[in-house]
Symmetry: C3
Subunit: 388 residues, 3 copies
């Protein structure tokens, strides 16, 4: 890698020009920017098993490190910061090339053959549970976007403070007669910080108005998830997703330790936000000295799903904090409930999220305060039965 004039901009994949960068590794010293810290970016191609040919980009901002998977829709594989890691350990331990995935298998549950990311987008033509849509078509779990290789990937380092490092990727979800979506994803971080942002823009390139669904399926396990961990958010309304969850509605915001035969419970949440629509959520450990905050805007992502899969460690001990355009019911249910937005021809919708690793009780407390400030004196309605 040679030194480039600022701002640094490198295209590493481009299907239009068939450009394809080999494995590389470069450091902050390789480019002529006055950035802070000892950051670096590297790219690998994985081999063996079902991960044959998968590309992985690792970004180390000097304090926080994360890995992005262009081959799997620009999902985030894992994040490391201090003694905290984000993500989880799935029984699926390879990063699976979509060439080996059949989304239609097991009655539309094929997505589970590759599910192990810290953050995977669900969507965008459809998301949520598999099953027949109103037109009789079979929809598969959580849609296609997480199993589509990125068509263009680029790295940008801003030439002005705070010298943000941006990994951008375009994921195309296109079928003649059905869909023509472009999802520009961006995952970025400031050198030396303990947070990263997701800034995506979904564009309907079609001449027809089209529905979309998107869920940011962010997943967390140890050390943040343990017995006594808590989920904190500014909440207007919370409901059990189904009858299983209804039994746990009283303790929905706290967690069990790894629990055999727990399976999963899911809760649907309508969040409150500040006057700009910004809201904040947090998962913190039992001691309240480590956590992760997930911030988003309810004008972009008005719904939030909490997935509590506190089964055993080997089965996948994990909780999902999932801001979305709707809940993960089948699209036919979501449509009836008015939770399937549309995009007019040529129009775009942006989605911004920030994930911050909290490394002390002070940081956890400060975040708790700011979430309480959003809630203010507004009430939380707790429904005892599912509200589809």
């Amino acid at each position: 890698m040679t030194t480039k004039a600022a701002p640094f901009h490198r295209v590493i994949t481009d299907s239009e020009t068939s450009l394809h960068a080999e494995d590389f590794h470069f450091h902050h010293t390789d480019i002529d920017l006055k950035t802070q810290g000892h950051w670096s970016i590297q790219k690998h191609t994985l081999h063996g098993g079902k991960q044959e040919g998968v590309e992985l980009i690792e970004i180390d901002n000097g304090k926080l490190k994360f890995a992005v998977i262009p081959t799997r829709g620009m999902s985030i594989y894992k994040v490391w910061c201090g003694d905290v890691s984000l993500g989880w350990k799935s029984p699926v331990d390879e990063i699976v090339n979509p060439a080996f995935i059949n989304l239609e298998s097991r009655g539309g549950l094929g997505w589970l053959d590759g599910f192990n990311e810290m953050m995977v987008r669900c969507g965008v033509e459809f998301a949520g549970h598999p099953g027949e849509d109103d037109d009789g078509r079979m929809l598969t779990l959580h849609g296609k976007i997480g199993n589509i290789p990125a068509s263009k990937v680029e790295i940008i380092v801003d030439d002005k403070p705070p010298y943000r490092i941006r990994i951008r990727g375009r994921v195309d979800e296109k079928t003649f007669k059905f869909s023509d979506y472009e999802l520009w994803t961006e995952i970025s971080t400031v050198p030396g910080s303990n947070s990263f942002q997701v800034s995506d823009t979904l564009t309907n390139k079609s001449d027809y108005e089209r529905e979309y669904q998107i869920i940011y399926h962010g997943n967390f396990s140890q050390p943040l998830l343990e017995e006594g961990s808590k989920f904190v958010a500014a909440i207007k309304e919370v409901s059990p997703f189904n009858d299983d969850a209804a039994n746990e509605i009283k303790t929905w915001a706290t967690y069990f330790g790894p629990t055999k035969d727990y399976g999963e419970t899911v809760f649907t949440i309508i969040p409150y936000a500040d006057k700009n629509g910004d809201t904040d959520t947090m998962l913190h450990n039992a001691d309240g000295d480590r956590g992760v905050a997930v911030s988003f805007n309810i004008n972009e992502l008005p719904y939030l799903t909490l997935w509590k899969n506190t089964d055993t460690l080997k089965e996948g001990y994990v909780t999902g904090i999932e801001p979305g355009s709707g809940f993960p019911y089948n699209k036919s249910v979501e449509r009836k409930a008015g939770r399937v937005p549309t995009l007019r021809p040529g129009k775009s919708q942006s989605f911004s999220l920030e994930y911050t690793v909290l490394l002390s009780s002070d940081e956890v407390k400060a975040r708790e305060s700011s979430i309480k400030k959003i809630q203010g004196s507004r009430k939380t309605k707790v429904n005892k039965t599912p509200v589809q």
Copy 2:
């Protein structure tokens, strides 16, 4: 590439010997033949998105240029000649590796995830619309052959005038207990000419008689397709494919400009031919000074389908001229109508088509005359309702 004794013959892919040529580029000067013009052949491997690993061969005969996709059943991606291009712009803008295609998705419409070629063969165990066959088996849209990588690919340049350049590829469609077809494809062109030929041979390698279906799905858009473009053919009988098309039967041979909410109409045609079975069709622009002729033999391909997808440019403004062994109804319908031929054990059937780019009003008029000559005084029956 080194100089070779004539005739030039180079195998670039062969699954039997695991031979696999890397990207190359060679010119007429590289081989010792007294050919005309400045022709060249190059091969690329594509990268990025769903086109990762797709191989593409580009042939420039000095006047006409075309690109063949070995990875997608030897389909023709696009053709360029003077100010005319053949092919179309699909919302699917990558050349999709079949590894990322699931033909069964959307109830058998997965083929649409990769459809963007100038010419794709449909078949050969089955073609046409998805749905249940008589035996209860689900058939997928337009079959498998367009999503099977070629097992053997070779380039031949004749050592005698007119020094025809031939790209040959063998595509195997084989399933234990069900099918054992070999389709030898050949796309060829004479240096300096404005036409190319498709000369395929389908062989039933099985010991059992087997049905086959084949449709040559040739697709055209701007600049040949525009408001007022016309389709010309020698026709015995033309029918609307379905009720939608029935409304347009009076103007079936002329085209609209890009039209929002048009969707598509389809017409089924039984062509007339000369005493040798040769027939000719043409699409020309509104001014009648640019066109494409598609010639074939009705002893090989007795049926013709005209697909008019004059929707908006972004949705795919395109018309298909589709000579075939039958029409694109589901195989169960085709079988009942007697339009599903069979091949006895070891037997072969050849299919030859010629595509000629017409670059002047003289060339368009000459072709119109020759088509009228085929029709002669024979009547055309226009059916107002579908005739399955």
Copy 3:
């Protein structure tokens, strides 16, 4: 390849470290062991058609040669020894990359698009015929394990006599919420011998007890299979698999020559074994001077299926000797019959088989004697109708 201290141990694929060895070829002289014979091991990557990217390892023990396919679940492609070969000629003549296989196609028969191995394992979450399981889920023919690329592959040569050469591969069958199996396979041979062993260990890595099914689908054709060939085993009970087979129950253990319209017949067998559970089976030619013995242990694999597909040579003239955890009925049938074993959390089950090529009438006779000895005076029950 450099000389290594004994025992020789080389990891050639490892998805954990992304290790991936290129094509190689090494001989007994390359390592410092006092082994017998002129053995060698080589690895190729295949190209062309649907075998693009498939890895193949060929082991020649100086007398017997076999090829293993890491990309297809460590299946054995073919075996050669003297003038005998094991395996068969399927209409599917390429070694198909699972990326091009859709197991769900044709109502769950997609497995047939890649079936051509000498030995393919069926399983492990499910095996046998496609169809709905008791929970309404669609199961596909013979499961997934034969179409999963190995995640770790290693070669070991023992440093003590008889200097056994071992090709070991780990195949992971893992789906979040459904399965977490690790299958460590080993195929090994002693230099200069005419046999090889399969020694597999299946581990349930899940925290839950899980069912499994496994069938070792070993396939044989000419020169061992011909008119008058015989299958020999120590048998407690033999039954026709279905009504077709019922018609042939009297001659179930002898074979026809290649027979048009034969299709296939299948017989289910409960074998006898010696006091250690070891049993032995044999297929020999009409003259009784060439054969193959398949030995296994009924404590590991209590059931045996004989598949007689003596159709024409081109259609696949082949017989399958298939020791298994059960018969190849749909899993719902097998469960009801008590033939679906389970593995408790963390537990493993081993499976050992030996395949021996018999090269003389003495060897065939000796094997017949040892099989008769296992049978002893015990009776064989021949059922005239299927016993599910």
